[in-house]
């Protein structure tokens, strides 16, 4: 039986499962169940904002047990059928034994294996870049070329577009299908210019639907990672399942998941950690995911570099990495923009905490929260990848010390962060020379990270 045939079981469950409206799910079933489980495992008020990187691994394991129970009690709601896709305990245990512990993509020199890690693992995690920040069409290739010119970048995701050859890229329209092909061709151009033809790709940034996903498989024939993002934690839908079927049938890798929100349906940092673990655990049994992606964001500022979110994401990553072989992707969502000190501070906090907590993979940067068009440059990608890899092997205690040192420098600005500068303001778009202002800041902040105790690997371009 091929894996895509197995998806039929999920589709059947979605068709015949217990009925539940989305409103009941969001406002009654999920909050009530998560709150009960948090209480049952004595996890209430365990979030320690004075020590944002958790150092108590027994507590992390308790969170894992809670997340496991949440996964089996809840399952995922399919929003198209308004039914619950349940996964019982035995099924979950069997699936966790089968979950892939690694995935390999890329060709020749670019072959890259993303494999499971544990907290404080000395093996550096892998980094994909950039993270779908919207660019003008004329900047797409130069910025991607610049980012890929550092070997710290292992996987290419590409920025995103909002036009295709001048026409608006309308969601759920044939423009999106066209954009899938178009963006894939632009990526190949950028990869060629950067001398990285065989690098593995995550598909495709400019189309969030199944149309663009399908289109890109026509251009990249080798195994790539498909982004099968679910609408929110503990849910799935038909567009996601379309992508899963396509991806498995084409021999690609499935990455699926969605952020849990502090302040949202799953409650505070403790409830979010439990929901995040449950979401990670359910991605293989339901979506046959090779990689799951359930980060934690704070709804109050739509980022995750503040104390509550760092703690929540840290303990969820520790829990899952200590108890399973799941390959996780969790994003670090900076809210400040390029060419600001705050961006670097946020990045140190987010990536040091993530690296020491067993995370295998991330894609970034998320300069300016991904909000501002053209606010993406190579420096953010090089810096964040260097911190993420450099922090591998640090203890949780050391990471906590670093995070505590840096957080006060920016946490009061999280709700009103600086927008920063755009790509053409920071780099010469033709020659890819950085401005003196940004180069000086970048080098200063590299030294700052090193002085804090993060061994920063060179970017191979300016450092």
């Amino acid at each position: 039986m091929t894996t895509s045939v197995k998806v039929l079981k999920t589709l059947d469950k979605a068709r015949t499962g217990e009925r539940c409206t989305e409103k009941q799910w969001d406002y009654e079933i999920v909050p009530k169940t998560i709150a009960e489980i948090v209480k049952k495992y004595n996890l209430e008020k365990t979030c320690d904002v004075n020590n944002p990187v958790n150092t108590d691994m027994e507590l992390a394991d308790r969170f894992y047990q809670a997340g496991f129970e949440a996964a089996t009690r809840l399952g995922l709601l399919c929003t198209d059928t308004e039914t619950i896709i349940k996964v019982d305990e035995e099924e979950l245990l069997v699936n966790l034994k089968k979950v892939p512990a690694y995935l390999t993509l890329g060709e020749g020199d670019e072959k890259c294996t993303i494999s499971t890690r544990t907290p404080s693992d000395g093996k550096p995690p892998k980094y994909g870049s950039p993270l779908s920040i919207q660019m003008n069409e004329e900047y797409y290739v130069p910025v991607a070329q610049g980012i890929l010119s550092s070997r710290l970048i292992d996987i290419h995701e590409g920025p995103s577009l909002d036009t295709v050859m001048g026409s608006p890229l309308l969601a759920h329209s044939p423009y999106e299908t066209f954009a899938g092909f178009y963006e894939a061709r632009l990526r190949r151009e950028a990869q060629w210019r950067a001398g990285r033809v065989g690098i593995g790709n995550m598909l495709v940034a400019s189309s969030s639907t199944e149309y663009g996903n399908l289109a890109a498989f026509g251009i990249f024939s080798k195994p790539q990672i498909a982004l099968c993002l679910i609408p929110s934690a503990l849910k799935t839908n038909y567009p996601t399942l379309h992508k899963v079927v396509q991806t498995l049938e084409f021999g690609g890798y499935v990455e699926s998941g969605s952020p849990t929100m502090i302040g949202g349906y799953t409650g505070g940092p403790e409830g979010c950690a439990v929901a995040s673990i449950a979401t990670d655990l359910l991605q293989y049994p339901v979506h046959f995911a090779h990689m799951s992606g359930a980060p934690t964001y704070d709804l109050r500022y739509a980022g995750n570099c503040g104390r509550h979110a760092v703690w929540s994401q840290t303990i969820a990553s520790q829990a899952t990495s200590r108890n399973t072989n799941i390959v996780m992707l969790k994003t670090i969502n900076q809210v400040s923009g390029p060419c600001t000190e705050m961006f670097f501070y946020e990045s140190i906090v987010g990536f040091v905490a993530a690296s020491v907590s067993g995370l295998e993979f991330t894609i970034g940067p998320r300069s300016g929260g991904g909000k501002y068009k053209n606010h993406l440059t190579p420096f953010e990608a090089w810096y964040t990848s260097a911190v993420f890899k450099g922090a591998a092997g640090l203890s949780a205690e050391k990471a906590n010390e670093i995070v505590k040192e840096v957080l006060p420098k920016f946490e009061n600005e999280l709700r009103n962060p600086p927008k920063g500068k755009s790509f053409p303001e920071c780099f010469n778009v033709q020659t890819l020379e950085p401005s003196k202002e940004y180069l000086d800041l970048y080098l200063k902040m590299r030294k700052y990270a090193e002085d804090l105790g993060v061994p920063m690997p060179p970017d191979g371009v300016v450092s």
Partner: protein, 222 residues
Amino acid sequence: MSDLLSRISDAVRWGRKDEIEKLAEEVIANNIDPIEVIQKGGVAGLDSLGQAFEELEAFLPELMMGGETMKILIDKLSPHMENQKSAFAGKVVIGTVKGDLHDIGKNLVATTLSVNGFNVVDLGVDVSTNKFIELATQNDADIIAMSSLLTTSAYYMEELVTRLVKEDMRSKFKVIVGGGPIDPNWAKTIGADAYARTAVGAVKTCKELMKIEKISETLIGD
């Protein structure tokens, strides 16, 4: 009376819908000024809820329950506010635009508008331009509020404004936009009336758009 206001405040804070109905009846039976009850009872409850949200003691589901409880209170007392301005700050039709299935930000804005006195009609996610216009007309809405987390869906915001102009309906509705990639420039470019970055910003802006006396100064949810 202070005991009654305190019980109303608690009922809103904790989202006790059954209790608020009985308390509203008590207000009517005792001929107490409804506006004072809403402001000193209901709004005080919302203040407390807002503080709890800030301190991560209350979350989106509790905000929604508080909002629904406040709406019941306003609904019950409105018929008894003769010669006084309607307790509702305005009617808002809200949704996430076509092609976009993200809902949490839109839900937060809808809930925050509701708890701050707006009558909110939530159309959900993946809402077509036609549906926005049809439901805004049907509900006699004052404001159409559109959310998008995807740049590729944001074009449908432009489509809606263009349709309103073409169909000679632009003056009937105020249009406000928001969401991850949306900024004031985009709002200006497409001819929307306003942009809001946060849920609280949306409340402030909608009140400005309505040019009405504020039902309260309370703004929660940011």
